[in-house]
Amino acid sequence: MNRRTLLASAALALGLAGTAIAQDKTKVGFIFVGPVGDGGWTYEHNQGRLAVEEHFGDAVETVFQESVPEGADSERAMTQMALGGADIIFTTSFGYMDPTINVASKFPNVKFEHATGYKRADNVSTYSARFYEGRAIQGHIAGKMTKTNKIGYIASFPIPEVIRGINSAYLHAKKVNPDVEFSVVWAYTWFDPAKEADAANALIEQGADVILQHTDSTAPQAAAEKAGNVITFGQASDMGEYAPLPRVSSIIDDWAPYYIARVQAVKDGTWESTDTWDGIGPGMVGIGEISDAVPAEVKAEALAMKDAIASGEYHPFTGPIKKQDGSDWLAEGETADDGTLAGMDFYVEGLTGDIPN
Amino acid sequence: MRETLLDIKGLTKAYPGVIANSDVSFSVGKGEVHALLGENGAGKSTLVKMIYGLVKPDSGSMMLNGAAFAPPNPHAARGSGVAMVFQHFSLFEALTVAENVALGMENPPKPRDLAQQIRDVSETYGLPLDPDRTVGGLSAGERQRVEIIRCLLQDPRLLIMDEPTSVLTPQEVEILFQTLRKLSDEGTAILYISHKLEEIRTICESATILRRGQVVATCTPRDTTARALAEMMVGASFDAVQRATKEFGEVRLKVDGLSAKSPGEFGTSLKDISFEVRAGEVLGIGGVAGNGQDEFLAAISGEILTEAQMVSFDGAPVGTQGPEARRKAGLLSAPEERLGHAAAPDMSLTENAMLTAAARQGLMKKGFLNWPKATGFAEQVIEAFDVRTPGAGTAARALSGGNLQKFVIGREVLQRPQVLVVNQPTWGVDAAAAAAIRQALLDLAAQGAAVVVISQDLDELMEVADRFGALNEGRLSDIRPVQGLTVDEIGLMMGGAHDMEMAHATA
């Protein structure tokens, strides 16, 4: 992300527009890692922001800063926002974790909400979505539909959220197709269309006919479409413009209910530091329409799995599962606890390659 | 009487607030060497820029060879046979000699032919030059040859030379004069701009003297004394520099085996320099520009750090100390480049005074700046050195070169240094002010300071220095008493005519 540092610093210098003083209004700030038009992760957070505006009308004012690099720059952006009078600030990328904690300690009266992290404080809540539930469904479809038995996975950074997704997808693909192999490419970026396209092309050249992505742009979709005979899944957002092929389904983040509830809590004075981790059941993770390119029976199985996960009947990490090194992780029938999942730093048995540090 | 080549009638050019030229008229004959004499700011530069098409006159007319002449740009001027050798700013350091020459020509031939032409002309006029060398690596004298050859390749009818000898050794000056005489014999007129009176008396047949934008006199230099010329130029008589007879005291500055690499890409490294300066003594350092003067000053001021014992001040080794520590102890300096090195262009005179005088004048207490006191000091400098400026709050950039020079030198002199090193102290300063600056340096020495004056103006060095040495490619010549030194000896100390002996031996 360093390449964008200079640019974002310049953006900071221009300041945040509209920091007018309006004490009666609740001021809600958002820090975004990509542009709001990325069509993926940041796009959906911004949809949540717009939902907050629509829900509360004149009672709130929202401000946001997009394309903020993770690291020191984000600390500056948050500080500016807090100084600008924000009552609650949502910091929407894993890499903002330590900056959020640092800035929060300097502004005890401002509430912070950090997405996908695991560090909390009296005025810092964490929230995340159980994307791995959606990954399980993707894995199932991928395992059923691959002809080359090679599945490409464009990973962003080696953090627990991404590793969970890889593990979950792999377990469910393997379950329905024992010959399946995963190739993971670490792009080290959340958003760089050209690089994401290159990564997709590299995987396709290696014979992958399914591409899963944990990066935010639609570039891999375009690459798959150009290559033909490759299927993909929308990430964070529906990416429906690539349906029915190559995009056959998607994971959709829906942050709006959570954002509205938290802003309401600030207005009511009932806000407390919490750790929220919701999945398909409460609606924080949505499964985009499974297109007709997927055979009807596979579609039915996938939807059945979705319902089972939503009702709590099925947990995607249910034993027996071994770790990559062959040691036991979950015994028969045992399900993973949230603590282990939140800090997941290992591959499950069968995945090749090492997780970078 | 020669046939008239260039005839100028009533040229006037005004800039906001200044009239650079007012109703200037004179004429130059074919093959004539004509001097244009005047102080800095007298309007010489503007006048030649009008002839060369860089500046358009407000009114007045010019005739060249009997035809109306009003060049809209230098291309047109060159097309009409006018060429100019600039004092500064006309060479490109990263380009080769041939490329530089090509840039100054209207229709340059193919590179290979051009290289041959350069060789031919340089042989004809005794100006050796390799067309493929990069200009950045050339000496000042060689650079001037590039400019001259660039002009000669276009068979000019009028050659304008702006302060051509300021960068040359006496031997090189003699060679230049031979070239000019040869050109003159061939019918090329030369408009020769200078403030060096003896040179003008040597080479020029007639002179036009400008003062404040107007022609004040036209004369034949050979029949006029240098002093009379100077007084016409300045418009008043001024005091000649007074030298007190003196006795020298202890060694204040000692440099021993100083070697230092130049920090700049095209700089000159210093090689094994040793000398001493005693209290009350003025040491003059001559040499053609670019032979290590800047590095020499930097090594003594502390901008270039060396081994400790290479520079000693009052017996203590200071080679490893930075400029701030040396200033505090009383070793002061004033570099050549006024804007950007000696003074920060956009800061006021008060702030510039603060920058070098904070420690010695007590302008700073416990890290806090005493601005009223700094203003007082700046005003003292302005007063004592007759710096013409609206006040101490004026930005350094806004001062004319001469006035800023007076300020920069005055600022150091008034700090009562024990050792003062100055580079080109009177560069671009009018004759009266130059005399005042020289007097101040002599007075400082008389009060017991050791003074080192680096200059390219040999007359100046002969006037102020007790002993003389010259820098040549980073080495310092033997140091000799000024009394009894001849021009030829000085020239040899400066390295003679850089790589020109060969050419002359064969010519």
């Binding site: 390449r3 970026t189 590299a202 375009a222 413009e241 | 006309s90 840039l103």
Partner: protein, 307 residues
């Protein structure tokens, strides 16, 4: 190293595609900088080219018209930079950064309706004879026209700078604007032309991203490519062929490392991931280690004709 399953033909072919956007932007910036102007707005001009090229190609159905429009739009944008810095003498660094911000903002505005749309594709040429050579044919001679345009541009810039009077004057202006002015060259005019050329090339580079390499329009899609182009110009010591080497190395190593990852190499991903930056800088520094390789002496300095 395990190149086992990587197809070298596809690898070379995709590195050429991958390098082309940076190559185009860098050669334009090289010309701008050679004239003594530092335009840090490459990123902004690229993304403007990306969106305008995409929009025009979608609306006309002609990718080539898209490229032409991209070059024109970015050239116009760069001329606004030129006007501010050359006539109003604003600070080049600040203005360049501002240009980037303007470009990013403007492009997201123009691009809104085009998100998720598909652009007409630029056909690959099949160069007769050369394209039929086994291995080398598909590697080098079956690309789209812009790949060859970009290489031709390098050759042209090199030749113009080295052999023509126009190139000499351009370099002279970049070396010393005072000297060039004294000799009667129109410094500001020449610089405006160089700025416009740089803008046009950046626009082509951006359009190549949105029309060929990705190919789609996504907000912020240049994602730092402009900054890479700027860095390559510096590390290539302002020499056209070195810019080519730099851009191909960077593009090549990026593609190679992704391929190595996809092929399941045992090399640690951390090193692979930083390798494009490291190797490009290292190679360019090594080939530039000897000889004169300074920046144009007037680079970034404002020129004002004094009397």
């Amino acid at each position: 190293m395990d190149f086992g399953t990587i197809n070298p033909i596809l690898l070379v072919a995709s590195l050429m595609v991958s390098a082309t956007p940076i190559l185009l932007a860098a050669i334009g910036e090289l010309v701008t900088e050679k004239s003594g102007v530092l335009n840090l707005g490459v990123e902004g001009m690229m993304i403007t080219g990306a969106v305008v090229g995409f929009a025009v190609a979608v609306n006309t159905g002609s990718p080539l018209l898209g490229f032409a429009a991209a070059a024109l739009a970015s050239a116009l944008l760069s001329l606004s930079f030129g006007f501010l810095t050359q006539y109003l003498l604003s600070n080049q660094v600040a203005t360049g950064l501002g240009l980037t911000l303007v470009g990013l903002g403007l492009s997201s505005l123009i691009g809104k309706p085009y998100e998720g749309m598909k652009a007409p594709s630029l056909a690959d040429l099949h160069i007769p004879v050369l394209g039929d050579i086994p291995v080398i044919g598909p590697m080098l001679f079956q690309h789209d026209i812009m790949v060859y345009v970009s290489i031709a541009m390098i050759a042209a810039v090199w030749a113009v700078l080295k052999f023509t009077r126009a190139g000499l004057i351009l370099r002279a202006v970049g070396e010393s604007h005072d000297a060039a002015h004294a000799l009667g060259y129109k410094v500001v005019h020449i610089r405006m032309m160089a700025i416009a050329f740089g803008g046009a090339c950046s626009g082509l580079g951006g359009a190549y991203l949105s029309l060929v390499r990705v190919p789609q329009w996504t907000e912020g899609m240049t994602a730092g490519a402009g900054w890479i182009a700027l860095a390559i110009v510096v590390f290539a010591s302002w020499k056209p062929w070195r810019v080519l080497i730099g851009a191909y190395l960077f593009g090549g190593v990026t593609v190679l490392q992704l391929n190595l990852q996809a092929a399941g190499t045992s090399l640690p991903v951390e090193y692979l991931s930083m390798s494009p930056y490291l190797i490009t800088i290292l190679v360019l520094v090594v080939i530039s280690a000897r000889g004169y390789h300074g920046a144009p002496a007037s680079l970034g300095r404002a020129f004002h004709a004094s009397h």
